[in-house]
């Protein structure tokens, strides 16, 4: 009798404890989702650690950004959102916003003003591509090449991708239409400003596919960000598209015989969203974190650890040297004026419309 009473009591206590833990967000804890790897550690250094020291909130890292959109939708349907702040690329932020899965943000009210006195919306400028999106970094998708495998004349522009005569060998491209279609048109003589107008038409799409057809046999298609750097390092491809930060670490940290192009690189953004469906306390804390993490100094701090440019104009002058290598980071930033002479602006709105359609066509084209 006594034992069974004891057993009951223990069970009850355990249950209560479990419940308390499972609702652990009541405690000072928040889950922040990001991409993992060097990128997450740059955020850990620049944002999480100082924020935890300042507020005593414990930050838990989750490396699920690649599946963030689907997972957020599933969480939302289940009515149990366990994430507080999520790092996503801008196009995902637009999608999440459209789906009602991300909180709308009033930049001027909820984000810190710039150090230089500008308002947040002025400071971020055009980078506020969605009502739900809080920009963090600017990155570029660009082309890296093996200096020892491209022959005597190193490539200087993006169209080297399509020039299999001068640069015979495999090249790696991302297994999706975005960027590839634009580059194909650019290298087929379409003016930069007309790319999306052309791509909107059936003929334009056919033109882009026809251009891609010319190199189809020498393309290795990648789907993970680490693929191209690995393929380049192994000598499997002579050139390939990837993120500029990956190329930076391949060149500067791993000292591989690789160089990168700063031509028609596609500007893209990465930043935070806050999921909808949080309790008011969690939402307030998430907003507080985001306000802290995207202020001028914090954004500049992140560039000490990774070669991505801060999304605020006011942060640019504060960019200094790499925390370990000690090299000046500004020349490696996609935002550096020297690098940004011929950039390509990625049209989020356009892709939100054409993504489903072109993706189906692209996949059908791939499998032909």
């Amino acid at each position: 009798m006594k034992t069974s009473m004891k057993l009951m009591a223990t069970t009850c206590l355990t249950l209560t404890a479990t419940m308390a833990v499972s609702d652990g967000h009541m405690a000072d804890e928040m889950t922040i989702v990001s991409w993992g790897g060097a990128y997450s550690s740059s955020q850990q250094n620049a944002y999480h650690t100082p924020y935890m020291e300042m507020t005593g909130v414990n930050i838990i890292n989750d490396e699920s950004s690649a599946e963030a959109v689907a997972k957020l939708r599933a969480m939302n349907e289940a009515g149990n959102v366990t994430w507080d702040v999520v790092d996503v690329v801008a196009s995902d932020a637009i999608r999440l916003c459209d789906e009602g899965l991300a909180l709308e943000i009033d930049a001027d009210e909820q984000l810190a003003p710039g150090d230089d006195g500008s308002t947040a919306s002025e400071d971020f400028g055009d980078l506020l591509v969605s009502d739900c999106f809080i920009p963090q970094i600017v990155y570029s998708t660009t082309v890296g090449y093996r200096t020892d495998l491209v022959g005597d004349t190193a490539p200087t522009d993006i169209c080297a991708l399509f020039d299999t005569e001068t640069y015979p060998g495999q090249r790696s491209l991302e297994k999706r239409p975005i960027n590839n279609m634009e580059w194909a048109l650019l290298c087929d003589g379409v003016a930069k400003d007309d790319v999306y107008d052309v791509l909107e038409t059936e003929e334009g799409q056919a033109q882009a596919f026809a251009k891609l057809d010319t190199i189809k046999d020498s393309v290795v298609w990648w789907s993970a960000g680490a693929d191209t750097p690995q393929l380049l390092a192994d000598g499997e491809v002579i050139m390939g598209s990837t993120y500029n930060g990956r190329l930076f670490s391949l060149i500067e940290e791993q000292k591989q015989p690789v160089a990168m192009l700063w031509d028609a690189q596609v500007f893209d953004l990465d930043g935070w969203i806050i999921p909808t469906g949080l309790t008011p306390e969690r939402e307030a804390r998430a907003l507080d974190y985001v306000r802290f993490a995207t202020d001028t100094q914090r954004l500049a701090d992140q560039s000490k650890y990774i070669a991505y440019g801060p999304a605020r104009q006011s942060s640019a002058p504060l960019v200094s040297t790499h925390a370990e290598l000690g090299i000046e980071m500004a020349p490696h930033m996609p935002t550096d004026p020297a690098n940004a002479t011929n950039t390509f602006l990625y049209n989020y709105e356009w892709w939100a419309d054409y993504r489903d359609d072109l993706d189906a066509k692209f996949q059908a084209w791939l499998s032909q």
């Binding site: 959109v69 689907a70 499997e236 356009w350 419309d353 054409y354 489903d356 996949q363 499998s367």
Partner: protein
């Protein structure tokens, strides 16, 4: 027939049933946790998937009035719907914008017609700033009672007035509900929004008696179709409306049509343009490649399983560990290892070049194509073939082969007529396991399959995680499930399902 009675005088059958019932209940109680687990983790998700593949409530839920108004419109006419449809769309869009559901509907319809996503996003943003405020101003200027939230609430509680003003009543109710749910305010304290006054104007022009008479003759009517067209010309495109109308029912076969490269046109079902046909190819490829992988597994696994079953225990154990090794390494590590081995600058090619079998500039393409997928997946799935084969072979006594030989059969005849038929249940079990696992695989094909070596599951994964087209993913999954069940049925008819053994 006389009933047999038990010792206590009750019918024996009843007593027996009673005794058995307790046993059955106990048995049920024992499996209950598993049963519940399976129900929750397996049956319900599948049911949910089946449901999602046809579910399409979002259109009627988000645009209820528009859908109703569109019933009158002839989709084949090639004309843009009338003003009434735009009136309904205005109310629906204004409400949806507050609920933040219009963009979701936009992404849903964008699967069917490119461009609707931004059309809805733009329209939602602009719908609050339509020129309909002239109606609002006219009513409020005519009588202050029209600006009084409390007065509105009183009117809308009065059945006579409601019967008089059907559009207004409906719109006010929807607005009031939205105020409570989306804004968290009290309707009786909030001034109605423009679209409620628009509804009132529509009632009035239809000849209804207003609660307080207002002279509306001085107002220039606002064309809502023009307002929408002002946001985006596409609203005057009949194709947009056709899409909305085709997808307005609560259930649709659209996802399934899409899964087999068909689409719902205005004149019924038609084939998708060739440049978008992909799923049938992928289904066929998935089947053929899974069968090849299965065949490779049988070819490679059979001798190994035979060896395992006939070796000394200690040697067999060592070999078994080697067989199980792939199980103990993570999927990604294994797959990456294959990359290192198979790529053009990889180990296998290096060795071949070194031996001189292939020229340095003619290195074999062993990865990022179907070869790569088949090699890697055969390796990964081989244990699933070997284990059932081994456990079946272990139960075949060596005396059968000896008996056959003593009866005059050569080694081959003895194997083929006596040993092989007895190992068929193992082959069957292994084949079913390998086949079903391989048609569902997507990580390995994604990593080593290139463009020609990917499976239908890769598309399902894409639609689940990237395009968020869960309905299409569900339809593709349902078809895959149906194909598996069909093959299972065929197998049962040809081989017999009791001819499957995992052991013993």
């Amino acid at each position: 027939m006389t009933e047999v009675l038990a010792a206590d005088g009750r019918p024996l059958k009843a007593s027996l049933n009673r005794a058995l019932r307790r046993q059955k209940l106990r048995a049920l109680a024992l499996i209950a946790p598993l049963l519940i687990f399976i129900l929750v983790s397996f049956v319900m998700p599948i049911a949910d998937m089946l449901f999602r593949s046809v579910e399409n409530e979002i259109v009627a839920d988000t645009l209820p009035r528009t859908v109703m108004a569109l019933e009158e419109w002839d989709a084949d006419s090639g004309d843009v719907p009338g003003e009434a449809v735009f009136d309904a769309l205005y109310t629906d869009m204004a409400l949806a914008n507050e609920y933040k559901t219009h963009t979701r509907l936009g992404s849903r319809l964008n699967y069917e017609l490119t461009g609707i996503s931004s059309l809805f996003r733009k329209s939602g943003r602009r719908v609050g700033r339509f020129d309909t405020d002239v109606y609002t101003d006219a009513f409020q200027d005519a009588d202050p009672a029209y600006s009084d939230p409390a007065q509105w609430a009183t009117w809308m509680a009065d059945d006579t007035i409601r019967a008089n003003l059907p559009i207004t009543a409906d719109t006010y109710d929807a607005w009031a509900q939205m105020i409570v749910e989306a804004e968290g305010d009290v309707p009786a304290e909030e001034e109605p929004w423009d679209f409620v006054y628009t509804a009132l104007y529509q009632d009035a022009t239809a000849g209804a008696d207003l609660p307080i008479g207002v002279d509306l003759s001085g107002i220039e009517p606002v064309s809502l179709s023009a307002q929408f067209a002002d946001v985006d010309e596409d609203w005057l495109d009949p194709e947009v409306w056709q899409t909305i109308k085709i997808y307005s029912p609560e259930y649709t076969n659209g996802y399934f049509l899409n899964s087999v490269d068909l689409l719902k046109g205005s004149d019924g079902i038609e084939a998708r343009p060739e440049s978008e046909q992909i799923y049938v190819t992928l289904f066929i490829r998935t089947m053929i490649m899974s069968l090849s992988i299965m065949g490779m597994c049988v070819l490679l696994g059979y001798p190994i399983a035979w060896l395992l079953a006939n070796l000394k225990d200690s040697t067999a154990n060592l070999l078994m560990i080697l067989v199980l090794l792939p199980f103990w390494t993570s999927l990604l590590v294994r797959t990456s290892a294959w990359k290192v081995l198979l790529q053009q600058q990889g180990v296998i090619n290096d060795v071949l070049v070194w031996i001189g079998l292939v020229a340095d500039d003619g290195r074999l393409q062993l990865i990022n194509n179907q070869t790569g997928t088949i090699i890697a997946m055969t390796h990964i799935l081989l244990p699933f073939m070997i284990l059932p084969l081994y456990s079946v072979m272990k139960t075949i006594p060596p005396s059968y082969l000896r008996a056959a030989k003593s009866l005059g059969a050569t080694d081959w005849t003895a194997f083929w007529r006596v040993y092989f038929p007895q190992s068929i249940p193992g082959i069957g079990a292994g084949c079913i396991l390998v086949f079903i696992l391989s048609i569902g695989y997507y990580i390995t094909p994604e990593l080593v399959g290139g463009t020609k070596g990917v499976f239908i599951s890769n598309r399902i994964a894409y639609h689940i995680s990237s395009s968020l087209n869960w309905g299409l993913a569900a339809a593709l999954g349902t078809i895959l499930l149906a194909v598996v069940l069909l093959l299972y049925w065929v197998y049962d008819r040809i081989v017999g399902i009791d001819n499957v053994k995992l052991g013993g």
